[in-house]
């Protein structure tokens, strides 16, 4: 699905990412890498292949779009790595496979004290806010007065219900000239925006993006 924000053409991808042709950039938000590790440390059995799955989905996106840059709109990781954990090495190896790609991270609330780690992963630190082509890229927007631009943080989803059946879909949420991306990470929660008429929900459903309501 194509939309326009402040004059910029953007393509919303069913994978929950945004392709920005003018900038040759792919945008994703809220990967929360390493969250499975946090859970296992606390005695909750989450498989480690969660991380491989997220990286593989990024690979597929990068293969389908001629991106020069990958921009993460915050919450790249769930928590900074602890000594002895090997998931940062898995990410470093994945990064090595995409050496020609520029990668920038807008810092999210989960990315605190991550500067050294970002350097080690060869990712640039974009601070808490940066501007591209007239659009503000932030992690969390002011929900009541969103500026023209893109953000993440909210993990928007819409819940649908018919009889005993239930469905929960990640959505892009749009209001005026602002777009909130769904969480790209699969192992993340969601905030139900289905009942809020001030935001238009564009659901990432299967192989397409559809406008709800």
């Amino acid at each position: 699905m194509r939309i326009e924000l402040a004059g910029q053409a953007l393509q919303l991808l069913p994978e929950g990412a945004v392709w920005w042709p003018e900038q040759d950039a792919l945008l994703v938000a809220d990967l929360h890498l390493g969250k499975d590790q946090v859970f296992r440390r606390h005695g909750m059995a989450v498989p480690a292949s969660v991380l491989d799955g997220e990286l593989k989905r990024l690979d597929q996106l990068l293969a389908a779009h001629p991106a020069r840059e990958l921009i993460v709109l915050g919450d790249l990781v769930h928590a900074p790595p602890e000594p002895g954990e090997d998931w940062p090495d898995v990410i470093a190896k994945w990064r090595g496979d995409h050496a020609g790609l520029a990668m920038g991270v807008v810092l999210g609330n989960h990315d605190r004290s991550l500067a050294a780690q970002l350097r080690a992963w060869d990712m640039s630190d974009l601070g808490e806010c940066c501007e591209r082509g007239g659009l503000a890229l932030v992690h969390a927007t002011d929900l009541d007065r969103p500026r023209p631009g893109l953000s993440g943080h909210l993990h928007p989803v819409a819940r649908l219900r018919a009889g005993p059946e239930r469905l929960r879909l990640p959505v892009f949420a749009r209001r005026d000239q602002h777009l909130i991306l769904p969480a790209f990470g699969r192992f993340t929660g969601g905030h139900d925006l289905g009942g809020d008429p001030t935001w238009q929900c564009l659901a990432a459903a299967g192989h397409r993006v559809v406008a709800l309501g």
Partner: protein, 809 residues
């Protein structure tokens, strides 16, 4: 010398009953067993007589007896009633109390100087097993008594208790275990679950011949076209007269919203308005206790209640019980009737208030089954790998366990008797390394195997988290309701409150309230004068018609058709039955009736299998899916306890052979899973399983995750496991549980098997029949606003009575 319990009764001027003597002597002989009898017949003293006598003969040092109660709110009352004979007989000890409400300092005291007997809950017992000295402290128990076993038997709390009991029996094979239960249709299973499949016990029947009079308050006119979902308030004058005639009345409704409506109605018209109170599970505990006390001391004439008053030991009997709506089951009818006239020889009185014409039949059918001594079964849950996993971590955290011994212990329980070797291996893998694949869960830690081969929990953080998660009850997402500067009124489900906008009015705790705002899991309200208020609909309030009662109902229909006399109250429904028979046909134990009519809305297909609302949900989805496989169609589906309605734009070609195909029990599971978005439903169900098995954590006290958050993280967990560990048996368990819980799958299966052997009649009545009418009306109500609905209803009724009938077989 007489038994001490007999001496105690003698002091009260009472003589022991036969079953009490039988229990005392069985106890003295070291036996275990199960006593079943209605409430208020002396079960407590029957089973407590054993420890009383034993305690006088061999004064216990340390903890000797546990009394397990399902509700911690009952624990205080229970302890008091156990103390009474101790005091009368001059024993120098009293009963202790340990529940979730017990303070930390009181718990420490209980550990340092344990009383000879302790009243506690299944969860607290599990928690006791999680302490390192559990063997020493619990190994010298002489007996365990499980009160209200029927309340635990059918759910996972019962499974948790079963496992804890097997641990206690392993520590002390001579332990005596006794259960107290209401009458059940599956007493053998109840005994097996309590004692384990390998042990024999004594089954003792209490005084079962307690007489119950069930009367029906017939409405002034009995409609030929009944509507379900009514409040029954048209019967208010008759109910008020009945309340005035008796000294004290308990009025039961089936749902909390109905209780709210009835309370408001009685309060606004009755001359005794100030002497009425409301009692249901969402209402603040203090107000509930006030209502109970008021009924006891005579300051209240009437308490309007839901199942919140089905339990309770020290609840003094009332003069009369009124049941609004069908009780939907015989056990529930007996339980509620038992709240009146406790004195020996006194008859229990129950006045039933049908809310629509067919409920008159349900009540008559229930009364007949009750008179015949038949009552529903409560099948214990099967499988439950989540509960077993939790128990394994509990024991690892307590005394630790060795694999072979633990395997035997689990095999010794009803839930574990059929555990396959690969399931056992999975359980061990799950608690020690997350799952069977060696590298799938790096750095996972929970249970570790020490060099001696003992399974233990080594990490303090894991220990702390596990103790906080013991149990199988998942809190519903509910918000506290309170005035801005004042009283707490109770709890309402989040789903209802978040749908309201600030400024809107709703009825709760018997008042009209205006929502101010919601903050920190609290809804702040103020009193409102508005008449346009909505009543919260609480989930899970409506039980489906029980199979036993449904079968009895079909029997009544058959007897009517054969020209036999109906019970007096049921005879009032005869015109309706005649109408049904004239326009179409009457369903019966050997006959399925299928009706087809066409209207401006489309083609309507009705089936009346009488299998209960939940199984009908499954049936409707299944039929729609199977029909759609042949000719794609969109259906609108509606169900009630008697049947299903499918509406489509184009009629469904249907003859008897194709009907048989549609109702075939073959491939039922696969077709049902395909018909419903079962994985989405299972995802929802996974919340409980994930929490019990320790896959999600509810958080530390004080900073607890909201139920909604736990739900969110368990949904995530479901997705992650489905993608990365699809063979995880907990996923399969949630699929099976969701089908059972939401669709009564095993009942649907039994229903289709039974239908295969029944005659089927397809009729074309031309217009709605009395049985089809409530389904039609229910669907409309879901579609239209209430005013439109009323109008269309009247028009439709007018038309039905004018037009002629066609019939074919």
């Amino acid at each position: 010398m007489s038994h001490p319990a007999e001496r105690y009764l003698d002091g009260l001027g009472l003589a022991p009953q036969e079953f009490q003597r039988a229990t005392w002597s069985a106890w003295a002989e070291g036996e275990s067993g199960l006593i079943h009898a209605p409430t208020g017949t002396g079960k407590t003293l029957a089973v407590w007589g054993g420890p009383l006598a034993d305690g006088l003969e061999r004064p216990p040092r340390g903890l000797a007896w546990l009394w397990i109660t399902p509700l911690r709110a009952l624990a205080v009352d229970t302890a008091r009633s156990l103390d009474a004979p101790l005091e009368a007989l001059g024993a120098d000890w009293r009963v202790g109390l340990r529940t979730g409400d017990t303070s930390t300092s009181a718990r420490r005291k209980l550990r340092e100087a344990p009383p000879p007997a302790l009243v506690t809950t299944p969860e607290s017992l599990s928690l006791m097993l999680s302490y390192a000295d559990a063997d020493r402290r619990l190994g010298r128990l002489r007996g365990v008594i499980v009160d209200e076993w029927h309340e635990l038997l059918g759910n996972k709390r019962g499974v948790l208790l079963e496992l804890a009991l097997s641990r206690l029996l392993a520590l002390n094979p001579g332990l005596q275990v006794w259960g107290l239960s209401a009458t059940l249709g599956n007493l053998d299973e109840a005994m097996e679950a309590l004692l384990g499949p390998g042990r024999r016990g004594r089954l003792i029947a209490g005084d079962l011949r307690r007489d119950i009079d069930v009367e029906t308050l017939l409405p002034p006119t009995v409609e030929r076209f009944p509507q379900s979902g009514r409040t029954g308030l048209v019967q208010l004058p008759g109910v008020i007269r009945a309340i005035e005639r008796a000294g004290s009345t308990l009025l039961f409704t089936n749902t909390r919203s109905q209780a709210e409506l009835w309370f408001r109605a009685i309060e606004s018209v009755a001359p005794f308005a100030g002497e009425v109170a409301l009692h249901h599970g969402s209402i603040d505990r203090k107000s509930r206790l006030r209502a109970e006390a008021g009924l006891r001391d005579g300051s209240l004439r009437c308490v309007v209640a839901t199942s919140s008053l089905d339990l309770g030991v020290d609840f003094s009997p009332v003069d009369q019980v009124i049941q609004v709506g069908s009780p939907k089951g015989i056990a529930r009818l007996m339980q509620r009737a038992g709240r009146s006239g406790h004195r020996p020889g006194q008859r229990a009185k129950l006045l039933c208030v049908p809310t629509h014409a067919l409920e008159i039949l349900e009540i008559a059918a229930a009364r007949e089954k009750m008179a015949a001594g038949e009552v529903e079964a409560r099948p214990p849950p099967e499988g439950c790998l989540d509960v077993i996993a939790q128990h394994l971590v509990t024991v690892a955290l307590g005394s630790g366990f060795r694999e072979a011994a633990m395997r035997e212990e689990i095999a010794d329980t009803r839930v574990g008797r059929a555990l396959r070797p690969e399931q056992w291996q999975w359980l061990l893998d799950f608690v020690t390394r997350g799952g069977p694949a060696l590298k799938a869960y790096p750095d996972f830690r929970r249970v570790e195997i020490d060099p001696d081969g003992v399974y233990r929990v080594a990490h303090r953080r894991i220990a702390r988290m596990h103790r906080m998660s013991v149990g199988t009850i998942t809190a519903d997402a509910s918000l506290q309701v309170r005035f801005k500067h004042g009283a707490r009124l109770g709890h309402i489900e989040e789903r209802f409150l978040t749908r309201l906008k600030p400024g809107e009015t709703f009825i709760f705790a018997g008042r009209a309230l205006k929502l101010e705002r919601i903050r920190d899991m609290t809804a702040y309200v103020r009193a409102s004068n508005s008449n346009k208020a909505s009543v919260p609909r609480w989930a899970g309030g409506r039980l489906p018609l029980s199979t036993l009662l449904a079968d009895s109902l079909l029997d009544l229909l058959q007897r009517y058709e054969r020209g036999e006399a109906l019970p007096a109250d049921a005879a009032a429904v005869a015109p309706l039955l005649a109408e049904q028979s004239r326009r179409s046909a009457l369903p019966g134990p050997d006959r399925l009736v299928v009706e087809r009519i066409a209207s401006r809305e489309g083609a309507h297909l009705y089936l009346f299998p009488f299998a209960g609302r939940l199984a009908h949900e499954g049936l409707a989805a299944l039929l729609a899916w199977r029909i759609g496989q042949r000719t794609p169609r969109t259906f609108s589906l509606t169900v009630n306890d008697y049947g299903v309605e499918l509406v489509s734009q184009q009629p469904v070609p249907l003859d008897l052979p194709s009907l048989r195909d549609l109702l075939s029990p073959d491939h039922l599971l696969a077709d049902t899973l395909a018909a419903l978005n079962a994985s989405e439903m299972a995802r929802h169900r996974f919340r409980d399983i994930a929490r019990i098995a320790g896959l999600v954590f509810q958080g530390y006290p004080g900073r607890q995750k909201g139920a909604r958050q736990v739900h969110a993280s368990s949904g995530l967990m479901f997705d992650v496991l489905s993608e990365h560990d699809p063979a995880n048996p907990l996923l399969d368990q949630s699929r099976r549980e969701v089908l059972e819980a939401e669709l009564e799958f095993s009942r649907l299966e039994a229903c289709l098997n039974a239908l295969a052997g029944r005659e089927a009649i397809i009729t074309e009545p031309g217009r709605l029949t009395p049985l089809a009418f409530p389904l039609w009306a229910d669907r409309l109500r879901g579609q239209l606003s209430s005013e439109q609905w009323e109008d269309r209803l009247e028009r439709m009724l007018a038309r039905i009575d004018r037009e002629p009938t066609r019939k074919s077989a």
